[in-house]
């Protein structure tokens, strides 16, 4: 029987791992992720979840143990944040290059120094090029649903890549919301047992990942790129199928809201997408044609969807909870890169907001929208990158 529970996104992520019948969980604490692995420890110790729980001595080992477990033929899950994710960096490359369908919850937190435990996307976006699929969630229900969807996607033979399910610290991680947990049999029906492209097997011995010369290396990289393209095709289909079965659907790669007739579209990720919807409603009441597009999947990047969106609008304003030092926010960069060479382009303005947990409410987004609309009417952006609410 499906049931509704009221809990934090972190605990819900634990429920997601349990519902996905994860078999090995290497775990290491870090704020604000910790309550995910605590919840799973509780499930395992109570016998509610049949999984091996490895209390590893670092996040680096957590990811490598996931690699070992997935290579030996079981479904692996872990969770981390910020510096823990940064410590995993080389292992992230190893996981994707090994084409292992590991799923990891990343509870987004700013990078130090100084120590800051509050949310921004600088941790996961710094891992952009590691070959991981990246989902960004806007509420607790989406956290649960995306973990299930992520395994379904990653274990598809056209993909065989790992995925991060990202959720912002505290805004989601420690915030209670009602979440519908579907019936386990129905989840099992949607998500069959673990499937991977290869396995460590004494009856079919291979050496995995030994020396690869320039003669072959590029082809292996190309295959990862192909898998990302396949993921881009599959994500909307899986999201739709999930929606038909369980009632929740997220627009595939991008969740669009009031974009059809919009002059200005606000492009965001994560919970800023939820706030942006409120902004849109408020501004629409004032007769302003504003829409919101929440990038739900950042890798593979929804280039074609952005291109389609650009054809309808006069202006795109990106809100990045992140800064690529020396350039701008990644959303701003990638959206402009997606549009270049296409002619008749909308204006694009990039806003940096909410770093290190500074609040980004619908009011903040309203300021961004109004400034963008002004620039739109004037026919040019005053600043390519605008830092929002920055002290003078």
């Amino acid at each position: 029987m499906a049931k509704v529970i009221i809990d934090t996104a972190n605990h819900i992520a634990g429920y997601g791992a349990k519902a996905a019948r994860v078999q090995v969980v290497p775990a290491y604490p870090i704020t604000p992720q910790t309550t995910i692995v605590e919840k799973i420890a509780e499930f395992v110790e109570k016998g509610e979840m049949d999984a091996e729980y490895i209390r590893v001595e670092s996040e680096h080992s957590a990811m490598v143990a996931c690699i070992g477990a997935a290579a030996a033929g079981v479904r692996a899950f872990t969770a981390t944040s910020a510096h823990g994710l940064a410590l995993m960096h080389e292992a992230l490359h190893w996981a994707s290059g090994s084409r292992l369908p590991i799923v990891m919850a990343v509870v987004n937190r700013a990078m130090g120094p100084g120590w800051n435990i509050w949310p921004d996307f600088s941790d996961s976006l710094s891992q952009r090029d590691t070959g991981w699929i990246q989902f960004y969630c806007a509420d607790n229900q989406e956290v649960f649903d995306t973990i299930i969807q992520a395994y379904k996607l990653c274990e598809n033979e056209e993909v065989f890549l790992p995925a991060m399910v990202c959720l912002e610290g505290f805004i989601l991680s420690h915030t209670y919301m009602p979440v519908k947990i579907p019936d386990q049999r129905e989840i099992d029906d949607f998500l069959p047992p673990y499937n991977s492209g290869w396995i460590l097997d004494v009856d079919r011995p291979y050496s995995h990942a030994n020396l690869v010369s320039p003669d072959f290396y590029m082809e292996f990289r190309y295959m990862i790129q192909e898998a990302m393209e396949s993921a881009k095709q599959l994500i909307p289909r899986i999201d739709k199928e999930y929606g038909e079965r369980f009632g929740f659907e997220y627009g595939g790669l991008i969740e669009k809201y009031q974009c059809e007739d919009a002059d200005l579209v606000l492009v965001t990720m994560g919970t800023m997408g939820s706030e942006a919807k409120i902004t849109v409603d408020n501004l629409r009441r004032d007769g302003l044609k504003v829409g919101s597009a929440r990038v739900r999947v950042y890798r593979p990047f929804p280039r074609e969807e952005i291109q389609k969106l650009a054809e309808q609008v006069q202006m795109i304003a990106t809100i990045d909870r992140h800064i690529s030092f020396g350039m701008e926010g990644f959303l701003a960069t990638e959206i402009q890169a997606s549009l270049y060479n296409r002619g008749d382009l909308p204006l694009v303005a990039g806003f940096i907001a909410g770093l290190g947990g500074r609040d980004v409410t619908f009011k903040t987004i309203e300021k961004i929208a109004k400034k963008s609309l002004k620039w739109m009417r004037e026919g040019g952006v005053e600043k390519i990158t605008e830092w929002v609410d920055l002290k003078e």
Binding site: E52, I54, I67, G68, A69, A70, A71, L200, V202, A209
Partner: protein
Amino acid sequence: MVTIKELPQEEYLLKGHAACAGCGPSIALRLLFKALGKNVILVVPACCTSIIQGPYPYTSIGVPLQNILFESTAAAASGIVAALQQKKLEGVTVVGWAGDGGTVDIGIQALSGAAERETDFIYICYDNEAYGNTGMQRSGATPYGAWTTTTPTGKRERKKNMPFIMAAHRIPYVATACPSYPIDFVNKLKKAKEIRGTKYIHILAPCPTGWRYTTEKTVELGKLAVQTGLWALYEIEYGKFKLNSPSDRLVDKAKRKPVKEYLALQGRFRNLTEEDIAKIQKWVDEDWERYRKLASNYLL
């Protein structure tokens, strides 16, 4: 107790591999398979064995092998062991096979964690006393006085005592070995396979390329390391220390060859002064005083 002739003839380190001529670790790797057979999953970090396998799409290793990040052998093994337990797959031995740099330096954290968690696997450090694969740089296992490319006038510090560090984890089995004593090594592996928990075996594996001696002397140098007492063959089983043959006959200093006989054969020790050699001899003698005490019923 097996004899050499009784060891199986099947080879899982295949001919035409990429090791240097006279490679000590390769002898040990052959022996590993002779002791454990083919139901082994090998976990190998960056080390000489990454190269010994040969390049994709070929490998010289006849069992499943997971190459993994330098510092991560024991973490990968932990994941594999957990997966096998989850699948209730028995009869497969997970073996970490790492060099000294990957064990005593960059890999010590993951190894210490896996040991503390009582992970059911065998970890073998094949110690050629330097970062061999990168061209002989100093490691925590490089002995005092040895030339390496990063200690061109000789290392100033002593070798880390990794077996004792592992024994301090209270794991059920710690042993030292040397491929010059194949039966001793094979017996230790067979024993380790039957024990549940973390088993650690540290092999002194002479390396002609790095130690600067001619290739035919690999086995001879391993024997000299043992006969001089610089390398002692022992086991620490559930905390109980025991010297193994022939080290058990070397407690009396008169039975041990002078360390100079071992040092003089190697180019890496060419810069040692008589004073250095005397110092090394003194340290060896002190080590043996400790072995003597430990062997007479002192628990470690």
